[in-house]
Assembly symmetry: C2
């Protein structure tokens, strides 16, 4: 440790969220460790302190914990019992397992939010096609079937139009400890996301509420702030996220994904880590979500989430036919000296998130055109 | 290599400039290597690919060159003959030794700029106190004595008020290959710095001209852009830097430090790498000097140097009595959620550059107060 009394921070998971956390850790002079499954994972390629191991193996987690003072996560999939063992060893686990469970288990999340009076889509636990039919009789078709655990990026979620599709989905094997949930299909006009950072002693900051666009269940684009969002609704979305962070005792970043049907906001999903919805903040705000996640889990005072420009647009780069992303630079960077490119060092596979681009400025249509063009060029869907 | 045809970039030197280059290398998906003298050097603490070795040892440089496709520098002190050997091996050395010599050797630099008709302080090579006296008879006292090689941060530079001080300075042992220069002491009203990035195929961009304030020969503060600088003078400073970059075939960042006496601009020093005068650009511009240095030496299209706010203020954190910089965070970050802190992971020694802080916004006096307060608090010269 070079800063005499500075803590060592460990992040479980070596994906792009850990990779993008490394830059603010370096700037703040924080010794940053990553527990990665493989040496070629996104974060393991760039950070100095890498330990190889599995987030599901309690021995690996213990070894990792012995190297760090505070542990946090680039994904939500670490078993809570493992985390409790680490806490018993004296490791500061942030967010803790009692908070993280609500990002791991959608049943627990729906129960908690419903008890707290926070608006969610109508929902029920189901065991059979008959249960789903019963739910649909009250709430109408289509419905959404979900596994309570193990889903991400559209996986573990099915939009069901007719009863005769239900049985086949229910025959999908469930992840460990998972159950089936059915939810009403909210006829949303758009999806929003409210992100907050919260520290152990309770300080919190709220980022501008963003509009997210999904494609095939995967985040495709984010506009910050959400265009034409009534200021009162924006504040109520931020207040809901702050309320949830406090209710669940979240430490670090919390993302609350919401459906907006033009009348109400419904909580869709929670994530307790930096989130795709906040990647714009690296280039578009005073303090990125990655820096504020580190500051929050270290219980340091939080940084300003203020935007640097009227709008920021983030578009994900999804893998296409072209394996060589580097070759796109000559076109993309020459066409647009103002674009910010982030590549994650991941091998290209069709549909896989391999990077993102961000533009900031005041002319939203132009920002959208520029960011989409760059992302499409990297993906290979356009070639000029 | 994870990006199939992306080059591997190596930086010789493991200091804070290499450390701050790692973040944009990671964002751009560039495999980034550092040749560091010790494993605890600033950059070696944070980057994955570290080779230990000396920048003065040609074997070490050859080993390093074998791991990378393009080589660049975090300082100017690599012997040119070593670099020519690497070039002969097929390594792209950027900037090349024929450019770098003008940042390594102040005699060569003064000769070249004078031949090109670019304004410098009056100067002469000297061998004796009598030579200095002769120069002062034409140019007046005080004069500035300099070693042509090996100086940095005020080292190797003496302001001489009287003839009787000269002999003692001339008895200082010279670095290898160095000679003595004497220069007129320009009665400047302020110091400016113009930074440009230039790529091998000749594309160049110019950053806003900044005002720098030195203390004891060390950069203390930078204001971007230089306040109240006549736009025509700003453009002429940028044009001079672009001219020098082209004249010397510089690749990467070039910093031209200038004296402004209210009438003319005089070239003081050159640096062919990211420079302390441009640290503000990390938080204050669309494309930081570190990103544009990488883009330039990789011959990628350059990014916009546009500022994100009307003013940026950077203040260096100099080592003081307090070894534990981390403990300052609670005060500094709580007082000012908008400040950006960069610590370099260097052990604190009095007067040593151990980090910097940046504020951006539109109210210059307030930005100066905030940044100075934070830096002074880290240094321990104030405690509240």
């Amino acid at each position: 440790m070079l800063l005499e009394s500075g803590p060592r921070l460990g992040m479980v998971g070596g994906g792009q969220l850990a990779r993008m956390s490394a830059a603010p850790a370096s700037a703040l002079g924080i010794e940053f460790w990553v527990l990665a499954a493989h040496a070629d994972e996104s974060a393991a390629q760039v950070v100095q302190h890498v330990m190889l191991g599995s987030h599901e193996n309690v021995e690996d987690l213990r070894d990792f914990a012995a190297s760090v003072d505070v542990m946090t996560f680039d994904h939500e999939h670490v078993p809570p019992d493992h985390l409790r063992q680490l806490q018993a060893m004296g490791v500061a686990v942030r967010p803790g397992p009692d908070a993280l469970i609500f990002a791991q288990d959608k049943l627990r999340m729906r129960q908690m939010l419903t008890e707290a009076g926070l608006r969610c889509p109508a929902w029920a636990q189901v065991w059979s096609a008959a249960d789903v039919e019963h739910f649909a009789q009250s709430n109408g078709w289509p419905v959404v079937l979900k596994t309570s655990r193990g889903g991400y990026d559209g996986k573990g979620v099915w939009v069901i139009e007719h009863l005769d599709q239900v049985q086949q989905v229910l025959e999908t094997s469930l992840p460990p400890d998972a159950v089936w949930l059915v939810e009403a299909h909210v006829r949303f006009t758009r999806e929003l996301c409210a992100q907050v950072a919260r520290s152990p002693h309770g300080q919190a900051v709220a980022y501008p509420v963003v509009q997210t666009m999904q494609r095939d269940g995967v985040c495709a684009e984010v506009i910050s702030p959400a265009p034409d969002l009534d200021p009162e609704r924006a504040v109520s979305a931020q207040a809901m996220a702050l309320h949830i962070a406090d209710l669940l005792d979240v430490t670090g970043m919390l993302a609350v994904e919401m459906f907006d049907d033009g009348e109400h906001l419904y909580v869709n999903e929670l994530a307790m880590r930096p989130h795709n919805s906040g990647h714009w903040s690296i280039d578009g705000s005073v303090t990125s979500q990655f820096e504020n996640h580190l500051r929050a889990v270290l219980d340091l005072p939080l940084g300003s989430p203020r935007a640097l420009a009227p709008y920021a647009v983030m578009v994900n780069i999804l893998g296409g036919d072209v394996g060589d992303l580097y070759s796109a630079y000559r076109h993309v960077l020459a066409r647009d000296p103002g674009i910010k490119v982030h590549l994650y060092g991941k091998a290209v596979r069709p549909g896989r998130k391999v990077g993102h681009v961000t533009c900031i400025g005041d002319d939203l249509p132009s920002l959208l055109e520029r960011a989409r063009h760059a992302a499409d060029y990297f993906s290979g869907t356009i070639d000029h």
